[in-house]
Amino acid sequence: MPLLEIFRLTHRFAGLCAVSDFNFSIEPHELVGVIGPNGAGKTTVFNLITGVYKASEGSIKLNDRELVGLTPHQITRSGIARTFQNIRIFKELSVLDNVRIAHYGQIAYTPAEALLHIGRFRAEEKRITNLSLDLLAIFKLDDSANEKAKNLPYGLQRRLEIARALATRPALLLLDEPAAGMNPNEIIQLMEFIRWIRQTFSVTIILIEHQMRLVMGICERLVVLDFGATIAAGLPSEIQKNPKVMEAYLGVEVAS
């Protein structure tokens, strides 16, 4: 059974069709890349899956549960976490708090217990803090746990964002251009890192990317979007030779 199944997803912004008739499915433990030229609708698809936008038509099912109509935090709690194209960590907060916030849905005390610091409060806070510190240690961010997130170097901010997403305990991780702003050397490291994340946290990953080197290197399957519609899908080696894809990326004349 597929983990995520998207059926005839369509989304319009005041007449402009950003995503049209998009079909997609992903099995557990797959690593699939979504590529396409700028403005093809890749990030819109992520925003639709995570509930930032409400789909105009179509359905999105996670483990056979309909997601269209749920709020973003409900979708996150049902097992989808994401990162952002331009990093959106909580800049003024500490690295530790960034990760602790992502545990929001897993905390078992009520507002009344929080206001008076009684009951389950202490035990739960301790548990969440330890979980967060462990996660930070796995990502080698523990030395900066009390640093403000904005003071981290760019690469570590990206890493923190992934750690924060994993703190919500997702089954499906959506990475939106994780290689943005990285040099070729860093991209090779990132490839290893993404493989490692999939192993360690046993998550399914969908990856949006511009860097062909990265997608070709790690993705098991690719979907190519242009003007909000799928123009090709298949193995990376097939996609590389697909004339339609070359046309979308390079223009008609070069391709022919």
């Binding site: 930032v52 935090h73 959106r88 916030i101 897993q106 206001l115 030395d143 009390n146 919500t168």
Partner: protein, 347 residues
């Protein structure tokens, strides 16, 4: 100027050494309560000074509670005086018309509590537009709310209409103000250093990201608005029974502005800042009273200078260690130690 800033940093440093002193809070609470009780019983402080201290306490409650919305959550609410009005009227109606005159003294805390609950209910309603609107637009909504409260009160004859309500006994004594101030600071501090408080902070940083990180932003906003307006209502009840007279004009936008000034003077997202802001503003207003109308020129001028030289207020986005729960301080200390032991371990 350099001398002043040196003193400022010396004070900060001194504050940090104080926090190592674990008996500070128990001693402060007992001594504070004893002082307040003695002052109100034996009148070694004259009534005028007592009244100023009462206003300081009320303003601390107002400032800390508004800071929850404007500082920690990063919204801009200008309706705080409206919540205060609800609390003031509910509490006053109870003590004047409902409670038996003989038992008013004993039932006073109940009246104050009822004022807080009344304001909290209204705060719940105001939280709803905050789901959809943010920033300037929410400011307009809260402004409208403040105007609605004022005109509703002006048009109900049962509460005196525009003439206002009187007949309250002077029930707000220094020990009661001390108690409610400590309670409100403690509860709001607790909220800030909890899961829900972190949710409030994350809404300020990035609301969409916060929702996507499993934070139930609606729940967080409701909690923040309800708690904030509850304490505004408490402050309103205390205010009404300190002044023994209220009318709707006291709770207009200008009153909200006063509270806003104290919040931004002390610094956003800081409980210690709010306390400092409320104390400085209230006392300065009294000290400058002899200047007459010039006071209203000098105070805004100070604000302008403050915003230019310290745009985040005195304690903006920082917290005195006294208010940080020990647990968080200990984690911080642990990491500092670890860093010292292995300085080259940072990746």
């Amino acid at each position: 100027m350099t001398k002043l800033s040196a003193a400022y940093f010396a004070l900060l440093k001194h504050w940090q050494t104080l926090t190592g002193y674990k008996y500070f809070w128990p001693v402060f609470l007992i001594a504070g309560l004893a002082f307040c009780a003695a002052a109100s019983a034996s009148e070694f402080l004259d009534l005028y000074l007592q009244l100023i201290l009462i206003y300081v306490g009320i303003n601390i409650i107002l400032t800390v509670s508004l800071n929850l919305i404007n500082g920690y959550m990063g919204e801009f609410s200008v309706g705080h005086a409206g919540f205060m009005a609800v609390g003031a009227y509910v509490a006053s109606l109870l003590t004047v018309h409902v409670f038996p005159p003989g038992a008013v003294n004993i039932l006073f805390p109940l009246a104050i509590l009822a004022g807080g609950v009344g304001a909290a209910l209204i705060g719940f309603l105001v939280a709803i537009p905050s789901f959809k609107t943010r920033g300037d637009y929410l400011a307009i909504v809260t402004l409208a709310f403040c105007m609605i409260v004022k005109s509703v009160l002006e048009n109900i004859d049962a509460v005196g209409g525009p003439r206002g309500l009187l007949g309250m006994e002077k029930l707000t004594t220094l020990p009661w103000v001390f108690f409610w101030t400590v309670l409100s600071v403690w509860v709001i501090r607790n909220l800030v250093y909890s899961n829900f408080g972190r949710g409030v902070l994350s809404i300020r940083e990035d609301e969409i990201a916060s929702d996507l990180m499993s934070v139930n932003t609606r729940q967080v906003k409701i909690i923040a608005f309800v708690v904030s307006s509850f304490f505004a209502g408490i402050a309103g009840g205390l205010f009404a029974h300190a002044l023994q007279f209220i009318n709707p004009r006291m709770f207009d936008i200008l009153k909200s502005t006063d509270i806003l000034i104290m919040v931004y003077l002390g610094g956003i997202a800081s409980i210690s800042g709010s306390i400092i802001g409320a104390v400085i503003y209230t006392i300065l207003l009294e000290i400058l009273r002899p200047l007459g109308i010039w006071r209203m020129v000098l105070m805004p001028l100070m604000l302008v200078l403050l915003m230019i030289y310290r745009p985040r207020g005195i304690m903006g986005l920082r917290e005195a260690r006294l208010f940080i729960p020990l647990r968080d301080l200990v984690t911080e200390k642990l990491w500092r130690q670890k860093k010292k032991e292995a300085p080259d371990a940072s990746a």
